[in-house]
């Protein structure tokens, strides 16, 4: 009984960690630009596929390059980091194409919503053309778990090692990012731009560079999340990131738009709540995040940990 609960809680915390990564990605961009990057879900997919390829996975027969694959696979941790970096670079490209031109014209923020969605559509369909629509399971032989057994026994509970690894990587990413934002000069500069871009610019901070940095980091977080989910479950097709992107949106609002601790707490809460849904009702699990979101929006629109802002007239 206790073991089952422990297992459930760990599963919940692991998927909650991934939701937190996605939500943090949204948070970074939202705090500097005040807009939501709807391509986040596509970057999540991209990360998963990049890791798969870097680990030596082969493309299926439905793709444009059937049977193609790298001659040698990288170990999981290296592939994970490279895939995160790759997703970060593509996020930068998304910023250049879908956000920068609008910002230069001072266009309505609403338009960025459309252009980033369009960028997501392009990304996902490019993946589909190149890799095909079929699902992929990660190659397991390349020592992903660094020689650890697939299942660990902790306090009598059978825990999948990958779940534990997932939780560790998410925690490391989240703690690292929070510390960096809090302590480092770059992090302070980013927060200054988030607070007030004009004043930050006057104080000598290159706010354009900070916007680009926010995009790279958010893309990397999404790529990391996609890789981890791909490893622990599989890649069911190029669209799989979209669902995570939407749930990340729910987490974002749950925690409060623009709040880093809120995104983390919201992610964990959402993951745990989903894990506690009984198996008979598993079909409804996907609606839970949005039902919670609905309740929170109505009771406390600024989110659980968000700041209440007062509109000035």
């Amino acid at each position: 009984m206790i073991e089952a609960l422990l297992q459930t809680l760990l599963n919940g915390a692991a998927s909650g960690g991934v939701y937190a990564l996605v939500a943090l990605g949204y948070t970074l961009v939202f705090s500097v630009l005040g807009v939501i990057n709807f391509a986040q879900g596509a970057l999540f997919s991209l990360g998963g596929y990049l890791t798969y390829l870097l680990m030596g996975g082969r493309i299926g027969v439905n793709g444009a390059l059937p049977g193609w694959g790298l001659p040698a696979g990288l170990p999981f941790w290296l592939a994970l980091l490279l895939a995160a970096a790759g997703s970060g670079l593509v996020a930068l490209l998304v910023e250049r194409v879908a956000f920068a031109p609008l910002r230069r014209r001072g266009a309505e923020p609403l338009l960025a919503l459309i252009t980033s969605l369009g960028a997501g559509v392009v990304l996902v369909n490019l993946l589909q053309i190149l890799m095909g629509a079929e699902g992929y399971a990660f190659p397991q032989e390349s020592g992903a778990l660094a020689g650890l057994p697939e299942v660990l026994m902790i306090g009598g509970a059978r825990i999948r090692t990958i779940q534990l690894l997932l939780l560790l990587v998410c925690s490391a990413a989240v703690v690292g990012l929070s510390l960096w934002l809090e302590r480092s000069r770059g992090g302070q500069a980013l927060r200054a731009v988030a607070e007030d871009a004009t004043t930050a610019q006057l104080l000598g901070i290159n706010s354009d560079a900070m916007v680009r940095l926010a995009f790279v980091l958010s893309g990397a977080l999404a790529g990391l999340g996609g890789s981890l989910i791909g490893m622990s479950v599989s890649l069911p097709g190029p669209y799989f990131g979209i669902g995570y992107g939407l749930k990340g949106l729910a987490v974002l609002v749950l925690g409060g738009l623009g709040s880093v601790p809120g995104a983390i707490a919201g992610g964990l809460l959402m993951g745990l709540a989903e894990a506690l849904v009984p198996a008979e009702a598993s079909g409804w699990r996907d609606a839970l995040a949005f039902a919670i979101l609905f309740a929170v929006l109505l009771l406390r629109p600024s989110g659980l940990l968000g700041r209440r802002t007062v509109d000035k007239v």
């Binding site: 266009a107 338009l111 252009t115």
Partner: protein, 299 residues
């Protein structure tokens, strides 16, 4: 290349564009259109197959009158849902409202996927046909579009439409001038839902099958793109956007798999190249009064 079937889809696209346009005309960014579309379509599918109250004839035909009744019921059910949900969500503004309406879309989608009588992932199929070919649907969709367009056009000269425009320009000021902003926003939201629900009921028969995927988040994106690319300042904008963008993937079919990538590129580049949409205020001015609100510009 454009046959009657595609024309029906284009007209349905234009109707969904208008459904997104109506709340936006009152300054409210709602992405809930697919939820109402799905509700209308599911009701029509159920009424004409499983619950069979509207009696398909033994020959497999379906009375046109029953279809019309379903259109009314689909719109009414969607409108009722909007009335209930709208009271809650319309307190939210801007991006919060957008996200809450996405949540509604997802909840409705999961509900249709999991309810015991909506057919799960496969959905409901063999929905009876009131018409022998697409031209009947074409006529029905055209009438619906003309009717909706006429209402939108009338709105511009009615107190309701003027109140919507006032809220769009400045909600606080509109409230101070004595406009009941909650009621006006709610009315726009319900109108939007009625249009979407009616379109869904027609689409269910036209497509012959109906499932949860018909009302997914993708539809939120594409219908919003109809309005943004077509232009959100006059009702003609979303109609043009809906017609063109629905036809585009079909017209791009010869280029094969790349067509959705091109479609995405159009969505990325459209707002950059034409920030006010194809039917821009400048174009409307040139067209004169026709099909436009042409409100007097402030000096």
């Amino acid at each position: 290349m454009i046959d009657n079937g595609l024309l029906v889809q284009m007209l349905l696209g234009a109707l969904l564009g208008l459904s997104v346009y109506l709340p936006l005309a009152a300054g409210q960014l709602s992405l809930a259109t697919p939820a109402f579309y799905a509700v209308g379509g599911t009701l029509a599918a159920l009424l004409s197959t499983r619950w069979s109250v509207l009696g398909a004839t033994a020959a497999g035909g379906f009375p046109v009158l029953s279809l019309l009744l379903e259109l009314v019921l689909g719109g009414a059910l969607a409108g009722t849902l909007a009335l209930l949900v709208g009271r809650l969500v319309l307190r939210l503004r801007g991006i919060y409202l957008a996200i809450a309406t996405i949540a509604l879309v997802e909840i409705v989608r999961v509900a249709i996927l999991n309810l015991p009588f909506t057919g799960g992932a496969i959905g409901i199929f063999s929905i009876p046909q009131p018409f022998t070919d697409a031209s009947g649907y074409l006529l029905t969709a055209l009438i619906l579009l003309v009717l909706t367009g006429w209402i939108c056009q009338r709105l511009d000269t009615m107190p309701l439409g003027r109140a919507m425009a006032a809220i769009r320009d400045d909600e606080l000021a509109a409230g101070c001038m004595g406009i009941d902003t909650t009621r006006v926003k709610l009315t726009a939201f319900v109108l939007s839902a009625v249009v979407a629900g009616t379109s869904g009921a027609l689409a269910a028969h036209f497509l012959n099958t109906w499932n949860a995927r018909q009302g997914s988040f993708d539809v939120s994106i594409t219908t919003l793109a109809f309005v943004i690319l077509g232009g959100s300042r006059a009702w003609l904008g979303p109609v043009v956007g809906g017609l063109l963008l629905t036809a585009l993937p079909e017209l791009l079919r010869p280029v094969g798999d790349v067509r959705l990538v091109l479609f995405g590129l159009v969505i990325v580049l459209g707002p950059v190249l034409a920030p006010r949409g194809l039917v821009s205020p400048e174009l409307l001015e040139r067209l004169g009064r026709w099909g436009s609100p042409t409100r007097e510009q402030k000096p």
